[in-house]
């Protein structure tokens, strides 16, 4: 649905994007992750046709953004980074204005405006002037205008910035609910955010893509191993030995996690070069007659992942 091929963007001598390529499939929610100034906003502006790329091509819904800009724009919903809207216009008047441009037919316009007002929980604010709205509500108005025409592709630049925790959850649920119907590319510098909303992550730093995968697979790739947490009821030393004896197990570390309803359980994290290690662990535990109380994969959270990825990149550069 979104195809970015070899996009390079220069601002004068400054290279904002360096041969960036990635794809977003129809119905996918993809997170564009990177620190501030990494080129996320530039990339999104190129996707929406607001800026043009120095080199490379961008396709949205099979159309070249550079040559069929209007056709692309009519399929697109875009939430820019800093949504500051007309301060002296009411929410409803603003959405009516957007609807007149984006939607044909008077009755469709009216129903669409009502729909986005309720989707973004803005009914009570519809008559308010936008200058009097809090940051959170303004962000929702921004989202509402992006959702207005039920676009095939949604480009959301930092959609949850400036919201309070409850609003973040609301917006996140709203975005998740759109997955499958719309193709969504959202950017964030908050790793947790992307982890919770997106199926796939593209990590960008200094204008270059440094990693691109599903959230889980990315953390595996960084560790180079699968990591599993296992909680077993039984003799501690024997369990440790049995786990170490399993083929492909690299490391077993005992965790001091007590608590829960079985404080006597032994808890280990097992690192292995075998992705399918959970099955073997389960088999070993059961064959020995111990009680298997918990067995789950441990994923590195994106925070740690990101630090590792960027550091790795720096090491490569140094070498």
């Amino acid at each position: 649905m979104i195809g970015v091929q070899n996009v390079t963007k220069y601002y004068g001598q400054v290279c904002a994007l360096d041969r960036v390529s990635f794809e977003v499939k129809s119905g996918e929610i993809v997170g564009l992750l990177g620190p501030n100034g990494s080129g996320k906003t530039t990339l999104m502006r190129i996707l929406t046709g607001f800026f043009s790329a120095t080199e490379g091509t961008v396709h949205v819904a099979g159309l070249d953004v550079a040559t069929s800009s209007l056709a692309v724009r009519s399929r697109l919903g875009y939430l820019p980074e800093n949504v500051v809207l007309y301060p002296d216009m009411s929410v409803r008047a603003f959405l009516n204005f957007c609807a007149r441009i984006k939607i044909n037919g008077v009755s469709q316009r009216r129903t669409s405006v009502e729909r986005v007002l309720s989707e973004c929980a803005l009914e009570d604010m519809a008559h308010r002037q936008m200058g009097t709205l809090s940051k959170g509500y303004r962000q929702r108005v921004g989202l509402a205008q992006a959702l207005l025409s039920e676009p095939e592709v949604l480009i959301l630049d930092e959609p949850t910035v400036g919201l309070d925790p409850n609003q973040v959850i609301d917006i996140r649920e709203l975005i998740k609910g759109l997955g499958g119907k719309a193709t969504i590319l959202l950017s964030s510098h908050i790793l947790h955010e992307v982890e919770l909303t997106c199926e796939r992550v593209v990590i960008i730093d200094k204008g270059r893509i440094i990693a691109e995968d599903t959230t889980e697979r990315l953390s595996e790739r960084v560790q180079g191993t699968a990591s599993v947490l296992v909680r077993v009821g039984g003799p501690r030393q024997s369990i440790l030995q049995a786990l170490r004896a399993i083929k492909a197990v690299v490391q077993v570390t005992e965790q001091n996690k007590k608590g829960g309803d079985r404080p006597e359980d032994a808890v280990f994290t097992v690192q292995s070069s075998n992705q399918d290690i959970a099955r073997e662990i389960a088999q070993t535990v059961i064959n020995n007659g111990w009680a298997l109380h918990e067995l789950r994969p441990v994923t590195l959270d994106l925070e740690a992942l990101f630090v590792r990825l960027t550091r790795r990149e720096e090491q490569k550069e140094a070498a």
Partner: protein, 249 residues
């Protein structure tokens, strides 16, 4: 086809007429033009002689109205693009399925309507005059046609300057300065005889207004004004497009 144009026009008209600004500007406009009407009238009552008192009066009156329009139109055009840029809403508008021309002409026509609204109050002067001393209406019709054409060129020029900056004050001062410069160029023919300055002086819309004030509707001058508007609309559209040129090779 024109849906987007109407949407922009509607939005801009709302923002003009739902805010107190246009009424304030109109009040200042009418104060200044009202005083000109009074003082011009007094002048001709006291010193007027000859056959064409009425003609001469209206000629002076239109020349003065021209100046008042010149001083007020920049205040109407300054925010049109500069504010969208300052707020960041330009990014929304330019990524909506809408041509830049719809955006430009929507704003242009909205500003033209606001200016005509302001100008329409001055119609009370000829009505008053007619009540005091009936005269031939053909004396004032060309003057008004000229004022309308002149306002439209001022708007086109102001829109262009507004599209260059995200600072409303800079936009306002920039267009005011440009318009005043064109006016000053018409003061001293001796100074504008040579070189580049003679070329600039020859496209001064202020000079081209003169025949309207004298009571003629000249097709040549109307063409000049139209070309002027087209030229500035072209420049404004390029200026909106210029964001795309950054980093292009």
């Amino acid at each position: 086809m024109f849906a987007n144009f109407w949407a922009v026009l509607n939005k801009e008209l709302r923002s003009y007429f739902l805010s107190p600004f246009i009424y304030l500007i109109s009040a200042v406009f009418l104060l200044l033009s009202g005083y000109y009407f009074y003082s011009d009238l007094v002048f001709y009552v006291q010193f007027g002689f000859g056959l064409n008192i009425m003609e001469n009066f209206w000629q002076l009156m239109f020349t003065d109205l021209r100046l008042v329009i010149m001083l007020t139109v920049p205040f109407l055009t300054m925010r049109l693009f500069a504010e969208e840029k300052r707020l960041g809403t330009i990014e929304l508008l330019l990524t909506y399925p809408m041509r830049d021309t719809d955006l430009f002409w929507g704003k242009f026509v909205a500003c033209a309507i606001a200016t005509l609204f302001m100008l329409s109050f001055t119609l009370i002067y000829p009505v008053l005059m007619f009540a005091l001393q009936p005269f031939n209406w053909t004396l004032v019709v060309p003057g008004y046609v000229g004022l309308v054409m002149l306002s439209l060129t001022f708007i086109a020029c102001g829109l262009f300057i507004s599209s260059l900056t995200d600072n409303i004050v800079v936009a306002g001062l920039g267009s005011l300065g440009t318009l005043l410069f064109f006016w000053i160029l018409s003061w001293n023919d001796g100074a504008t005889q040579f070189g580049l300055i003679s070329t600039i002086a020859s496209v001064s819309m202020v000079t081209h207004f003169q025949s309207f004030a004298l009571g003629f509707i000249d097709a040549k001058e109307i063409t000049f004004f139209l070309l002027f508007i087209i030229f500035f609309s072209f420049l404004t559209l390029r200026s909106l497009e210029a964001r795309q040129w950054r980093g292009r090779r």
